[in-house]
Amino acid sequence: MSSAMRNASSRSIRLARWRNTARTVWRDYRRQRSGVVGLVGLAVIALVAIGYPLLAEPSALSVTNATGGRLAPPGDGYPLGTDEFGRSVLLLVAQGTRVSLIIGVASASIAMVIGTLIGILAGHFEGKASWVLMRITEWFLVLPGLVVAIILVVVLGRSMTVLIIAIGVTSWAGTARVIRAQTRTVEGRPYLERAKALGAGHWHQMVRHVLPNVMPLVLASTVITVAAAILTESGLAFLGLYDPQNLSWGMLLNRAWSTGAMSAGAWWYILPPGFMIMIVVLCFNLCGRALEVAINPRLRR
């Protein structure tokens, strides 16, 4: 901190402050066992998603190359049995990791951008503009998000991009509300008064003063939105709204369900994908909760 003060350029001060905050948050985060468990879990899952190509060659999942029996129980060569085409369930689940994570992170990013933008605008401006923005946010909060997402995918076609957009535009309202509340408290602080007195424009105030202050909250909110987005994706896929090119866990459950794995009692086809969804969502939720506590000491109990 002291060396940064000597160099006194505004950028280095900002960087030093940012580093300081990050260090404090990380210290508070590490103290929470559940948060660390979640982080380790996510690291392992991310490794599977990235390292999947090392596990198997691309042709291993082609329907024509499948060597296993139809819905065969776990046995030699197939640690988790086979699907309706005789492909290894283990490999299918490992491959699904990537798609589920991509859809979750991408749609949560869309939600984060919309939510932060609307939240800051609604918190910064007063009067009619803020009122209108909050009514829109409340309306999106009230609308049954899943129903709207389903209809969007039905109407716009079943591709990964459409899935991501549909989940993104139906899940930003919660973030916007949290960010607005936080913006309002930041707005009341003296340094913003000072910036205003010095003639800072709205853009400068929002980007340089409000945004850095709400950023930690945005992060925590995004982590939890990713969890929700992965659950929503699995739900949409289960209802048949998936991109056939990109295999996700929800899509596996849809295939299992619609090709008679239930009546065949093929639990090895049904348990692993759902279990993975549960673990990933749980890990993201644990991380998000821990992050919230680390950021907002008032929550600590």
Partner: protein, 353 residues
Amino acid sequence: MANEAATYLPAGSPEDSTGDAGPERRRSTAGFGRYVLNRASGAVVSLVAVLFTGFFIFRILPRDPVEQIMLNTPNATPELEAALRSEFGLDRPLLVQFWEYLTNTLSGDLGVSIQYQVPVTQIIADRLWPTVLLSGTALVLCVTVGFSQGAIAAWRNGSKFDKRTVNIALLLYAAPAFWVGMIAIIVFARELRLFPTGRMVSATTPNEFWPRLLDTAHHMVLPTLTMSAMLYAGYLLIMRASMLDEMGNDYITTARAKGLRDAVVRRKHAMRNALLPTTTLVFMAIGNVINGAVFTETVFTWPGLGYTFFQAISVPDLPVLQGLFIVFSASTILANLTADILYWFIDPRSRKA
């Protein structure tokens, strides 16, 4: 979708008002009438917005809904295409279409289903009761169990019971409802043969009151538990948080200092106050109940609105989807209005402008 419950906060709840702290916080003496009028007009605006959205999503977004249906229909003929086109009114100008849609919807005409050739309102009326029965039962179950367990968990904050309850809740919160339902079917219906795998009544049940009632109850067990598993965690965690809030207050210390029994302080003091903000959440989280209904009814082929919605997806039966969109959205808006009005009565602190 699962964390929606956590984001549904009643207007005027502590989280919502944090932003309004400061010089401009003032107490208004606005009366109940003005409050209701205010909320009701908001709900009317939302309902109008739903009508607009219903039109926008189904007429403007898709380049051609008829083309989509033709692609999915085997042996499609040009005559069918023309018939569909005039049935949807797509051969008329957009403004005329909008006006017709508006007047029809407001007079209770939601169009005719493509797959059943029956008015959509008829389908909705037929399938409303099973959904209300299933969702209502699940809701009552999770509110009673979730609230009481959440209160006890918070009361014994940090205990083994608290940790175990929260861990189970977080697991259930993360599990997809349809997957829980699939496992329930495999274990309890296929392997143990304790319950039926789906539908509301068996075909063999005689059409008399008592046998049908018992059979329906038998069919309801697994779907109700599946749906409850999804909703329970949200209610439990909200109640626990609300209870922890109350426990920091002085009146709890006072009550304890008076020498009241622990259980009395919990039930009569802390829980009563913690219930205030959570009761309205039951209404606000109605969107979660709809999500739960869609998945649970689909897995268990329960003949309700959620299953109807699923059946309309793959066709796609656009009139049914549009009708259900309006019904689902309107019910969440009305439930929120109810929550707002309830809030006025149960928590006087919310009576600011």
